[in-house]
Amino acid sequence: MLTYLIRRVITSIIVLIGVSIFIFLLLHAAYPSPARAALGLLARPAQIAAFNKANGYDDPVVVQYLHYIGIIPNGGTSPDLLKGNLGYSYVENQSVFALFQERVARSAYLSGISLVIAVIIALPLGIFQAVKRNTIGDNVATSAAFILYSMPSFFLGLILIQVFALSLPIFNFEASQSTNVWYVMGDWYSMTLPIFTLALITVAAFSRYMRSSSIDVLAQDYIKVARAKGLPERLVLLRHLVRNASLPMVTLIGLSLPALLAGNLITESLFNFQGLGLLFFESLNKVDYAVLLAYTLAGAVLVIAGNLVADIALTVADPRIRLA
């Protein structure tokens, strides 16, 4: 098991380096130098050249990449990833890290609680569908999942706003505008619709998977043995089915992170929630590449870390993998 884990960690590091090269090339192609933004539109070519020279933007690409990573120290404004420096936004006149720091808690809350709610709904739903396969209940749930699965999250959000904020004024059509995360957490009037917009799309994918995973487990011999030895059906389901069928969910949560980040971007833009997704959307409009690429990089790191954690958790949880 240890060899497997070590190899898995090394692979993740290689992919991480690959991602940093990828994002750097994208940044380099889209936004070679922040000189214009720093010096203003009236800057003369000589001033721009001087700025580029002072800050290392006229170095060879490979050297610039090493600046970007932080292996060769840079005196200027390029990111310095190993030191946790994500770069400087001349549009906002603030370091990207500071911009993220202001908003990360709100985004983490929205995405985290949506993921938890999605799992809480999808797990029992998928098991129920597998046990009651091809009944009316299963067919209704499958159809609903199919529609949600094909629905862009902004359309689901608009439907929820129309029904639960405008037709029946139960909830707010705008997310909480407070800068205090503790207040946001208590503000169910404003947060319910964004949370469920993000959660329901995830439920659709998870419950479909959970259903087929449970159907596979139900066909296993150990389920037949458990039933044959006279174990009550409730215990068969709880002890044998739930445990085994839930294992693939761990991997699925890891794999769903890119979709969750995208959903976060859409949901925050739709409900005007001041998190990282909305920051990305605003930066698109301001064409602020420093923020855009730093956030893309942060997202990729989160995805790699999430998948690694999921694989480790699965190895620890499943003796079949652990002993193999």
Binding site: V19, M151, P258, L261, T296
Partner: protein, 304 residues
Amino acid sequence: MATSSLPPLDIQRAPEGGEIGAIQSGWRLALREFMNNRLAVIGFGMLIFFVLFSFVGPLIYHTDQLDTNLTLANLPPSGAHLFGTDTSGFDELGRMMKGGQAALEIGFFAAFVAIVIGTLWGAVSGLAGGIVDSAMMRVVDVFLSVPFLFVVLILAVKFGATVLSLSLVIGGFAWQVPARLVRGEVLSLRERDFVLAARTAGSSSWRLISRHLIPNSLGVVIVNVTFQVADAILAVAYVGFLGFGLHFPNVDWGDQLSTGSTYLEDGYWWLIFPVGACIVLTVMALNFIGDALRDAMDVRLRRR
């Protein structure tokens, strides 16, 4: 399945796949399995409907999609405008047809790009093996780790959005899954006798890939195509909704929905729900077809 319905074995005309007769009837079996799947036929019907709606519709239902007319803005559905008019006075139904053209063109073209890149990448990687294979698969991992929508949005901002640029960008970042699928197939195919035979006969690697490995792994690719189209249509909708989609006079469904959503409180439902339904139904049709194709190709699920 009655054995008598199998075609007579004809060794001379056996495909290069080496499985005499079985491949041919395999495709036929898959086709029958597909046609027996009710959802697949419904999905296929819906897809045909949207293709006709988008491309033939404007020939029958004439609307002016070039000149704004603010005296006609935001009219509710009526005999003259079946789905009302939008903020600029354009006929909403005609606009949906135009948006459908963009969605389907980008969807299919992006899927084509993704499939071509993915198939070649996977076949080369699987055939090469060893360190080349590992390196190529790590590149796939890198592309899988970077959030797809973010990169598409950044490139749409940088290069501007046209049907061509969006297709290339979306396809260029969606080829990882077909690459993995094809590599998996090639890894097993390359150990088979017909590949050895072709090698012995002096086939070059390129000939091996183009004549033997890719044709024999087409099954997994075909299943993936419809999902690719569905994902690309959703991606266009997201890009359009955030305001970075196609420019006037072109329009996409996401862009239309975004405009409509600002009038949600005014009760202009016809600007939102018909377009939303178009996106959902098109993507659903493609998912139906994809699921059915996957089941039809899966020998384990086949009824005997």
